[in-house]
Each structure stands twice: as structure tokens, then as C-alpha cells.
């Protein structure tokens, strides 16, 4: 009974419009950010290296290499500031957490794309 109340509060805020992306996929995350008084959309494109499960607490981490520097951003799955997530490419990986990408550079850090069936 009592956990139902929390489930209900959570479900009101959950986003069911998220695409079904997986670890290893390359995604574009459209984030609404406020600069001064103006609001604009920033795109963060990279590889999903981790998905954390949970209801309201679920999150994912996107990694990209920008000007030779690795950048990782972690987003809450249900964050309303994220306008949308777009899957650019599906990757073929054999790990659930791609932390090994952090120690790789250039060609070695590529992820094989999933073959179309």
C-alpha cells in the first residue's frame, strides 16, 4: 500500500518516450540548458558506456573524445531537461560497462557496428 504511493509519484514523472538504446550505442542527447535568460538546446554525442538500472534513479553515461580530451556526462534517465535521445548507431559490445574505452585512444577505441540482419 505505502510503496504504491511512491510508485505512483515516480510514475507521474517517468519518461516513457526514451528510445531503447543499449550500452555501446552511439547516441545524441539533446539537453535544454539555460544561458542567462535564454534557453537553448545543446547536443552531446558519444558512446553509451554505462547504464545504471533503477526506477527514478536510473541513469546512463555518454562518453566522447573532444579535442583529444575524453569527456563523460551522466544523465538521469527521467530528467525532464533532456529533450530527446537519438540513437545514431548500434554498437556490438560484449561488456555491460565499457570502462576499458577510457584507456584506449584513436582506432583502438572504435566500437564495431551491429550488422543488419
Amino acid at each position: 500500500m505505502s510503496t504504491n504511493i511512491i510508485d505512483r509519484i515516480d510514475r507521474e514523472q517517468m519518461r516513457f518516450d526514451m528510445p531503447d538504446f543499449r550500452v555501446g550505442d552511439t547516441v545524441k542527447v539533446y539537453i535544454r540548458i539555460i544561458e542567462g535568460t535564454k534557453e537553448r538546446v545543446q547536443v552531446f554525442e558519444g558512446v553509451v558506456i554505462r547504464k545504471k538500472r533503477g526506477k527514478m534513479n536510473a541513469s546512463y553515461t555518454v562518453r566522447k573524445v573532444s579535442h583529444g580530451v575524453g569527456v563523460e556526462k551522466t544523465f538521469a534517465l527521467h530528467n525532464p531537461r533532456v529533450e530527446k535521445v537519438e540513437v545514431v548507431a548500434e554498437g556490438k559490445v560484449r561488456r555491460s560497462k565499457l570502462y576499458y574505452l577510457r584507456s584506449l585512444r584513436g582506432k583502438a577505441a572504435r566500437i564495431k557496428e551491429k550488422g543488419r540482419v
Binding site: 505505502s2 504511493i5 509519484i9 539555460i34 527514478m56 534513479n57 527521467h78 531537461r81
Partner: protein, 209 residues
């Protein structure tokens, strides 16, 4: 304990809510009220002004005779929890009146939440009193010990009140100035920012400021 009006409630659990502008706020969900006025206490009779509230109603066959006799004047049945709240003027309330969340609180208010902390059992000085402890390595053998507890020949005893290991928890804790994030009257629940003392399903008192 603050000398203000309040309600009794039950801790349901914690979650997070997003504000309009994106930030996530950790909140505790509290089932607060409805409470029923069982008795009014006045300066003339009892020496102080207060109202006695009952929360969480109890079946008639579970009441003993003194309980059912006490509940008779309000005529709303018996209650599991009965507590007093200090008010300026008890005549603003009537016996048997039901008080809900919306009567006392609104979104944005600050409230004090009072509850019995979870028991921690027998704990050392680091957890119980926040001592720093000793070095972990470099040959040190002084890790989580309290250190010296006083002088030697004089006074030849340990000063009273010295912080030492012992039982921790199950004491009443009053958490002050929590913001009310949301009130849902239809469910009888309120969301306050941050954590509150006690376990889930534990009894809480929520005081107005």
C-alpha cells in the same frame, strides 16, 4: 520539541522529484493526518494551552476501558497514537474536529519533523560522537580507539559526561526547517525536502513554524 501546532504522520519512504527547471530534489513522503481533536487543555484548568490529537484510528474491540472513556467526548473512536500540541488558543478547535494537511501546511512552508531515530546498537566513538580516529597505517596501532579519557593522579577519575562508546540511536530527533515541496490532499500525503528521522512506517510529528 517546538511549541507549535502540528500533525502526526507516518513516514512512507523517500524518492526524488524534478522541479519545473530540471533539478532533482530528494524528498521524503509522509502520510500526515488526518488527526482528531480529543481534548483541549487550557491555562485555567491544566496550566497551559494545548490540544490533544489522535492519529491512526483503532478498532473499538481493541480499546481498553480508560481509552474508550477518554475517546467518548470527541466521539470519533479510539486512536493508536495520541499526542499534545501547544497552541495559543485552544478555543479555535472543537472536540472531534478533523485536522488535515491543508489546514496547517502549504507548499513552500518550512516545517520541523520530529521522530524516533533508528537504533544503531553499541557503537564506537567515531560513529557515535564523530571522533577523528587514528592513522590507518605507518605502524599505527591506534585506529578507531577513543584515545586518552582524562588525567592521571588528579582527579583519578573520569569526568562525568565523557564521550565514550555505547548505545546509539532510538532517541527522539527533531529535524528543523524542512521545505514542503508538495501536498497531495487526496492521498493525504506531503513531500518534504530531505530525510526525516526513523524507519519507514515510523511515527512522526510535523510542526508548523
Amino acid at each position: 520539541m517546538p511549541n507549535t501546532m502540528g500533525l502526526m504522520g507516518k513516514k512512507i519512504g523517500m524518492t526524488r522529484v524534478y522541479s519545473e527547471h530540471g533539478g532533482a530534489t530528494p524528498v521524503t513522503v509522509i502520510q500526515a493526518g488526518p488527526c482528531v481533536v480529543l481534548q483541549k487543555k487550557t491555562v485555567a484548568k491544566e496550566g497551559y494551552n494545548a490540544v490533544q490529537l489522535g492519529f491512526s484510528s483503532k478498532k473499538d474491540n481493541r480499546l481498553n476501558k480508560p481509552e474508550s472513556g477518554h475517546a467518548k467526548s470527541a466521539d470519533k473512536g479510539g486512536f493508536y497514537h495520541i499526542k499534545e500540541f501547544r497552541v495559543d488558543d485552544p478555543d479555535n478547535y472543537e472536540l472531534g474536529q478533523e485536522i488535515g494537511i491543508a489546514d496547517l501546511f502549504k507548499v513552500g512552508d518550512l516545517v520541523d519533523v520530529n521522530g524516533r531515530m533508528k537504533g544503531r546498537g553499541f557503537q564506537g566513538v567515531i560513529k557515535r560522537h564523530g571522533f577523528a580516529g587514528g592513522p590507518a597505517g605507518h605502524g599505527s596501532k591506534h585506529h578507531r580507539a577513543p584515545g586518552s579519557i582524562g588525567c592521571s593522579a588528579w582527579p583519578s577519575r573520569v569526568i562525568k559526561g565523557k564521550k565514550m562508546p555505547g548505545h546509539m540511536g532510538t532517541n527522539v530527533v527533531n529535524k528543523k526547517n524542512l521545505t514542503v515541496i508538495d501536498i497531495r490532499e487526496e492521498d493525504g500525503i506531503m513531500l518534504v525536502k530531505g530525510s526525516v528521522p526513523g524507519s519507514k512506517q515510523g511515527l512522526l510529528q510535523i510542526f508548523t513554524k
